[in-house]
Subunit: 759 residues, 2 copies
C-alpha cells in the first residue's frame, strides 16, 4: 500500500490528476463506471507514460482501496496547494492539479484533467458545501419587476389593500368567517379595483389582463375573499359579459359595485364534471314568451354554488333549453333567486352546503327550481336566441361547438384559479424559506446548531418548489396575454387557449397543494399552528385541484386536444405523413440511443436550455405519438371510442402533462427575455435550470426506459439538481422576497423570527 | 395490402397466432421491441414453414400497418371463435388461436403462442376490461379476521364504543371541541379499555399488545380522542411505567381511571427534534433533598404539550439534571402543574398553543417553570437516581446510552402513531372506495354513466394505496409483537426495535397523508365538505408526519442504525470482509446485469414474491453499502462526522426507506402465513403483489440506472400493476369492508350513497 501511495506522490504526471483521484475515492462510491471512465480517457492519452498510467490504475483498483492515512496525506497536500491559489481558481480541480504538478504539466494533461472532472460530474466548486452556508444577496427588486410584469401598478394597489393586519382570521366558526369576508369584499370594492373586471364597460382597459393580474395578487391574502370576488366578477359577471348581449351587460356596473350580487349555477350534484349531462330544464313557452326553469330530480339540484347560501340575489343558471319538446343543449339564463330582503324568490328553494375543509368565508349553497318563470330576455343570448316566432337561432350550427363555446366562460376562471395556486405556493414558500434560515436545529458537536436550510433534505423539500413557482408565475403572465389576445379576436378558435388554460391550471394547482404540504412539514409543529398560516393555505387551496374543472378530467381534455391536433396534422399530410410517422418510430429510436448525447454529463450540457427543451420535447412527442397510434388502432378495430379512451387513459394524461411541462418552460424562457437586469436574469435562468432538471429527474425512469438517457446521465442529472440546490439555498430568502408579499399579509410569526428567539 | 391480409387468413400455421397478431396491432403501439420479440421467437421455430414466417413478418412490418378493414375482419373472426369457447378459455389468446386453427395446430405452435402472449405482456384475460366492471365477492369476514389479528375481542369492544353517531363533530370552535372530547374520553374510560394500558399494574395482560391494538382501532374514530388518550396513557402514564419505580407506578391506577390527569413535557420551542439540547434544568439541592425545575430562557419553554393548556394537573418534565454544578444529561421528573381546582401551581406559568390545523379537541399548551421545587422522589429513577449522600448513580454508565434508554419511552408512541396512520388510511379508503362504486360520471354515448372506479386514473389513485394499507396493517401487527417481546426482555438491546418503529412510523404516516389527499381528490367537491369526514381526517392526521419524531429526522436515525450495523458486521469480519464487500461490488454488478433476469417479463415471474423481495433487497443492500462506503471515505479523509453525514443525507434517507420497504413486505408475508382461509390468503397475496410492484414501479428509474432492470422489464412492471388494479377493482368494496369500520364511525354520507341519488 505504502509503495503505491509513495509512487503516486512522486510521479509528476500523476500529480496533475491527484485532486481527481482523491475526490473519486473521497466521494466513497467509486463505481465500476467511474473507474472505467478514467481508465478509458487515459488509455487514449499518448502523452501519459506507461508507469504513470499503471500507478493511476493501481490507485483505482477497487479490491485495494487507499487507507485512511493515505487519503489524509493526499488531502493535506491538496489543502496546502489550495491555499496558494486565488479564490476563483482555488476550487477548480484541474487548477489544483496544475499547481501540484507545477512546471511539469503538459497542456494535454491539463485538458484531460478538466475533461475527467466534467465526465465524472464532480462539482468543480466545493465552497458551497453545507458548512459554508451563508446568505448571498440577489437583486430582489429587479426580480420583483420581472415577476410583476406589465401591471405592476395594479399589483401595488392590491398589495396596499392586503397590507392590513386586520385582514386576517383563523379558528372562527363558518358564520363569523362569512361576515368578515363580506366586509373585506366591500373594502376591496372601495379600492376601485373591481371596476377592472369588465373591459369596455366598467373600465377603459382593453382586455382582462389587469383584472386577472389583480386577482392573482389578491390570492396572496385570504382565499375566501379571492373566491367570493371570483364568483361575483369572474363567473357571475363573466357569464353576463361573455354569454350575454347589451341588455345583460348593462348590469355589469351594478355587478362591479356589488349592488347586484350573483352566483354561477352550473354544477349539479349528479353532474360535477360532466356538464353536458346537466338535467335542469329551461322550457320555452311561446304564449307568454317566457322560460320555465325546473329541477326535475334530486340529482339535478345545483350544488357547491358559491354565494348561493346567503348573499346572492341573482344566478346565472345553466339548463337544457327545450323548445317545442326539442332539446337544444345547455344554455345560460339569468334568474332572480332572492328578493331585496334576502328571501328566496317564488319557486326557489335554497340550501347551505355547510362546513367545508376550508374557504368557510364562502357561502356555498344548493338551489332547486320549481317551475320558476322568467321572461325570454333573461336568456344570455350572445350565441343562441329564441326569435319572435319562437324559433331557435344560433350563429353556431354545431351543437357540440356551441356547447364548448358557452363553456368558454370557464376558461378565464381556470386561468385565474391556476394563477391563484401560484400565489398560494409563493405565500407558503415565503413562510417556510424564511423560517428555514432563522431556525437552527442539530449541528456540529461544539458549535452553533445549523439553519434548517443547510440540510440537503430540507433543500430538497423547498427549492425545486421555489424554482417551479418562478417558472409557473411567468408562464401565467404569458397565459393571461394569450387569453386577452384570443378573446379580442372575433370568433377566435379558442381550442388552443382552452388546452393551455386547462393544462396550466392542473399542474399549477397540484404544484400548490404539494408545495404547501412540503412547507407545512418543513416547519414542523410550528407549521401546524393556525397562527402560522400554512393550515389555512392548505385547507383553502386544496379544492383548487378539483374545482373549475377536476385536474384529471382537465388533463384528459388537454390530452384529447393535443392528440387530435397531432392527428389532424397527419391527416392533412395524407398517407405520406402516416408512413413518415411510422417510419419515424425506428429512425427516432436510433437517435434516442445516440450514445454520445445519452451519455453527456458535463454541467455545461446539463444546464443548457437546449438540452432541457429537447428532453421535454422528446417526451411530449413520444407520448403524443404513441397515444395517437394506440387510439388509431383501437378505432380501426371498431372499438367504441369511449372504451378506447378508457383503456389508454393513463397514457393520455401522461401525454397531456408532458405537453404542459414543455409549454410552461418555453413560455417561461420567452418571458425571461423581457428581463432587462442581467443579474436578475442570471437568477431566473438558474431557477429555470433547477425546475427543468428536477422535472426531468422525476421522470428519469421513463428516459432510461426509452434509451434517451444512459444510466450515468440519470445520475449526473441528480447530482446537478443537488449542485443547483446548493447554489440557490443561500439566495432563497432574497428569491422569496421578490414575491413582494406585504408583511401584514405574510402574517405568520415564523416568517419573521424563530419563536424560540423572539427578540 | 389485401393480398397480405388474405394470405394471413389462408395459412393454418399463421392462424394459430392470429389473436396475438391482432392484439399486437390493436394495442396500437406495436414497438420495435415487440416486433423483435415475435420475430425472434419464431426465428427459432423449426416447425414453422418459411411462407408462414414471412407472412407473419409482413403483417408486422411497421411501414405497412394493417388497414382498418383488415383489422376489423380479423377481429370478427376472433369474435366468432370466442363465442364457441367456454368462459374459462374464451379470453385465452392461445386457446382462441387453437380454435381458429383447429385440427392443424401442433403442440409447438400452441406453446409458442402461449409464450408469446406472456412475453408481450398481453393480458390473457380481457374480461376485466373497464366496460365489464362488476363487483366480485371476497371473503370479507376471513379477511377481517386476518387483519384483526390476535386481539379481535379488544377490537370488538373498541368498535362498539365507536359505533355511536353522537361521537362525531366538525365545524366547531376549539373550546367546544375540547369539551366534547373530554366527555368522549370519560366514556372511553367507562368501557374499561383504559385499564389495558399498564400490564402487571392495571391489567393482568402480560404485555402492551392489547392496549396498542385498542389504540390502533380507536384511530378509526375521532383523532383528538386518540391523541388525548395517547398523551394520558401512552406518554404520561408510559413515562411513569417505563422510567419510574414502584412509588411512581403506584399512580397508574389513577392515571388509567383519569383521576390523575397528566402531560408529557419534553419538547421545547427551541428544541423540537434535538431533544439532547433541551435547556430546562432540574437542579439538585442536597440540604432540602429537592430538585428545582427551571426554564432558563424563552427557547426552553415547553411547547405543544398535549393536555397542558387546560386539563393536565401533572407533568412529566424532561430536564437537564444538575448536581453540584455538574450536568448529567436529560432526566424525567414528575411535577404538579395545577392544583385540584385547575389553577397553575406556584412558579408554573401556562399558555395555550391556540388553534391548530386539526386536532383542536386536544389542548396543546406551553409551560414555563420559575424555580419550581419538588422532592427528589419525584425524579423517575429507574435508570438513574440520586442517593442519600446526594451522589448520582446509574446502572447505565454511558451517558449517550442512558439518554437513548430514557428516550425509549417514545418507541411505544411511535408504534402507536404509525398504526393510527394506517387506521386513518383505512377510513379514508373506505369512504372513497365506496363512493367510487356508487358514483357514476361520463360514459358511453348511449348508456349509463360509468362508476368512477371503472377509470384507470381512479384505480391508480386508490388501489395501490389500498394494497399498501393492507401490508402496513399486518406489518404493525408484527411490530407490536416485537415491541412486547423486546420490552419483556430485561436490559434488552432496544436498538433494532427503535429502528423498526421509527422506520415504520415514518412510512406509515406519510402513507396516511398521501392516501387521505388522494381520497379527497377522488371524491371531488364531496370530499371537500366537512360532513364527508375527509377534511378532518386530513387536518387531524397531518401532524403525524412531524410529531413523535419528525419523519425525516427519524429516517436519518434509521439510516444511521442500519448502516452502523452493516459496518459492524464488516468490522467483525476484519479486512477479509472489507475486501469481500468491495469485491462484491463488481461481482454483484455482473449479477445485476444478468440479461435473463433483467429481461424476464412473464407475469408468473413479476408476481413471484421471490422477485419482489430480491428486488427490494437489492436496493436496500446497494444503498446501505454505498452509504457506508461514502461515510468511510469521508471519515478516512478526516472530515468532521457531522459534516460527512450532512453531505450524504439524502442518500442515507433513501437507504433507510429502502430498508423499511423490504422489512414491511417481509413482515407482511410472515403475518399472511397465519391466515387459515385459502381464499382470503389469495387476496392478501394479490394485494401484496400490487403493493410490492407499485413500490418497485415508483423507483423503476433507480433499477434501470443500476442495470437491475432492462427497459422492457420496467414497462412490464407497469403493465402488471395495471393488470393487478383491474383485478382488484371489482373486489375493492369488499376489501375495505374487511377493515370493519362501524357505520356510525364511517359516518360520511358518500360512503353510503351518491348524494345525487339519495334513495
Amino acid at each position: 500500500m505504502n509503495q503505491r501511495h509513495a509512487a503516486l506522490l512522486d510521479d509528476p504526471q500523476v500529480l496533475a490528476f491527484l485532486p481527481i483521484l482523491y475526490v473519486a475515492w473521497a466521494d466513497g462510491d467509486l463505481s465500476e463506471r467511474e473507474r472505467a471512465v478514467i481508465a478509458e480517457r487515459l488509455r487514449d492519452a499518448p502523452w501519459l507514460r506507461p508507469e504513470a498510467r499503471s500507478r493511476i490504475e493501481a490507485w483505482l483498483d477497487p479490491t485495494s482501496p487507499p487507507s485512511a492515512s493515505e487519503l489524509a496525506d493526499v488531502r493535506a497536500l491538496i489543502e496546502r496547494v489550495r491555499g496558494t491559489l486565488g479564490s476563483a481558481r482555488r476550487n477548480v480541480l484541474a487548477a489544483q492539479g496544475e499547481a501540484i504538478a507545477h512546471a511539469d504539466l503538459s497542456p494535454e494533461a491539463l485538458a484531460a484533467a478538466e475533461e475527467l472532472a466534467a465526465l465524472l460530474a464532480i462539482p468543480a466548486d466545493d465552497s458551497a458545501s453545507p458548512q459554508a452556508f451563508a446568505q448571498v444577496s440577489v437583486p430582489v427588486e429587479a426580480l420583483g419587476v420581472a415577476l410583476d410584469g406589465e401591471f405592476a401598478a395594479v399589483r401595488a394597489k392590491v398589495r396596499a389593500y392586503l397590507d392590513d393586519p386586520d385582514r386576517r382570521m383563523y379558528g372562527l366558526a363558518k358564520d363569523e368567517q362569512r361576515a368578515l369576508v363580506r366586509g373585506w369584499l366591500s373594502a376591496l370594492e372601495a379600492t376601485g379595483l373591481m371596476k377592472l373586471s369588465f373591459p369596455g364597460v366598467t373600465t377603459d382597459a382593453v382586455d382582462h389582463r389587469a383584472f386577472m393580474t389583480a386577482f392573482e395578487t389578491l390570492a396572496l391574502g385570504d382565499l375566501s375573499v379571492v373566491v367570493k370576488a371570483g364568483v361575483q366578477l369572474g363567473l357571475f359577471g363573466g357569464s353576463l359579459f361573455f354569454l350575454g348581449t347589451e341588455r345583460h351587460r348593462a348590469h355589469l356596473h351594478d355587478v362591479a359595485s356589488l349592488k347586484m350580487l350573483g352566483c354561477f349555477a352550473m354544477s349539479e350534484v349528479g353532474h360535477g364534471s360532466n356538464v353536458a349531462a346537466l338535467e335542469t330544464t329551461a322550457t320555452y313557452e311561446h304564449a307568454t314568451r317566457s322560460l320555465v326553469i325546473h329541477t326535475p330530480s334530486e340529482s339535478a339540484r345545483k350544488e357547491w354554488i358559491g354565494g348561493a347560501a346567503v348573499d346572492a340575489r341573482w344566478a346565472t343558471v345553466f339548463a337544457q333549453l327545450v323548445i317545442d319538446g326539442k332539446r337544444h343543449g345547455v344554455h345560460a339564463v339569468l334568474v332572480r333567486i332572492r328578493d331585496d330582503e334576502g328571501q328566496p324568490a317564488q319557486g326557489v328553494r335554497i340550501g347551505d352546503c355547510g362546513v367545508k375543509m376550508g374557504l368557510n368565508g364562502v357561502d356555498n349553497g344548493r338551489l332547486w327550481f320549481d317551475h320558476v318563470r322568467v321572461p325570454v330576455d333573461a336568456m344570455l343570448d350572445r350565441f343562441a336566441k329564441i326569435d319572435e316566432e319562437g324559433q331557435y337561432q344560433s350563429s353556431i350550427t354545431s351543437p357540440d361547438r356551441r356547447f364548448f363555446t358557452m363553456l368558454g366562460t370557464l376558461v378565464g376562471g381556470r386561468v385565474s384559479v391556476g394563477s391563484a395556486g401560484v400565489s398560494v405556493a409563493k405565500s407558503a414558500l415565503a413562510i417556510a424559506v424564511r423560517y428555514s434560515v432563522a431556525r437552527r436545529q442539530f449541528g456540529p458537536e461544539h458549535g452553533p446548531e445549523l439553519p434548517l436550510l443547510t440540510y440537503p433534505t430540507h433543500q430538497r423539500r423547498l427549492l425545486p418548489q421555489l424554482a417551479s413557482t418562478y417558472v409557473y408565475s411567468l408562464a401565467f403572465e404569458r397565459l393571461r396575454a394569450r387569453f386577452a389576445e384570443t378573446m379580442a379576436t372575433t370568433d377566435a378558435d379558442t381550442r388552443s387557449l382552452e388546452a393551455e388554460a386547462a393544462g396550466l391550471k392542473a399542474i399549477a394547482t397540484w404544484h400548490a397543494s404539494k408545495t404547501v404540504q412540503l412547507c407545512r412539514e418543513a416547519c414542523g409543529g410550528q407549521g401546524y399552528l393556525a397562527v402560522n398560516r400554512l393550515a389555512d393555505l392548505k385547507a383553502d387551496s386544496d379544492v383548487f385541484s378539483t374545482f373549475e374543472g377536476d385536474n384529471t378530467v382537465l388533463l384528459q381534455l388537454v390530452g384529447k386536444s393535443v392528440v387530435s391536433r397531432f392527428q389532424k396534422s397527419l391527416a392533412s399530410g395524407g398517407a405520406v405523413a402516416v408512413l413518415r410517422m411510422l417510419g419515424g418510430l425506428a429512425a427516432e429510436q436510433v437517435l434516442d440511443m445516440n450514445p454520445i448525447e445519452a451519455r453527456r454529463t458535463d454541467p455545461s450540457h446539463l444546464r443548457s436550455r437546449a438540452f432541457h427543451r429537447a428532453t421535454l420535447a422528446h417526451r411530449e412527442a413520444t407520448l403524443v405519438r404513441t397515444v395517437a397510434l394506440r387510439m388509431r388502432k383501437r378505432l380501426a378495430a371498431k372499438m367504441d371510442p369511449q372504451a378506447a379512451l378508457l383503456e389508454i387513459q393513463e397514457h393520455l394524461v401522461a401525454a397531456a402533462i408532458a405537453w404542459v411541462d414543455h409549454l410552461a418552460l418555453r413560455w417561461f424562457d420567452e418571458e425571461c427575455e423581457r428581463c432587462a437586469d442581467p443579474e436578475a436574469k442570471r437568477w431566473l435562468v438558474r431557477l429555470g435550470d433547477l425546475h427543468a432538471l428536477a422535472r426531468i429527474e422525476e421522470t428519469a425512469g421513463w428516459y432510461l426506459e426509452s434509451g434517451w438517457f444512459a444510466p450515468e446521465k440519470a445520475r449526473a442529472v441528480r447530482k446537478e439538481v443537488e449542485a443547483l440546490m446548493r447554489e440557490i439555498a443561500p439566495a432563497a430568502v432574497g428569491l422569496v422576497g421578490a414575491f413582494g408579499i406585504p408583511d401584514a399579509c405574510l402574517a405568520a410569526p415564523i416568517a419573521f423570527f424563530d419563536p424560540a428567539h423572539p427578540s
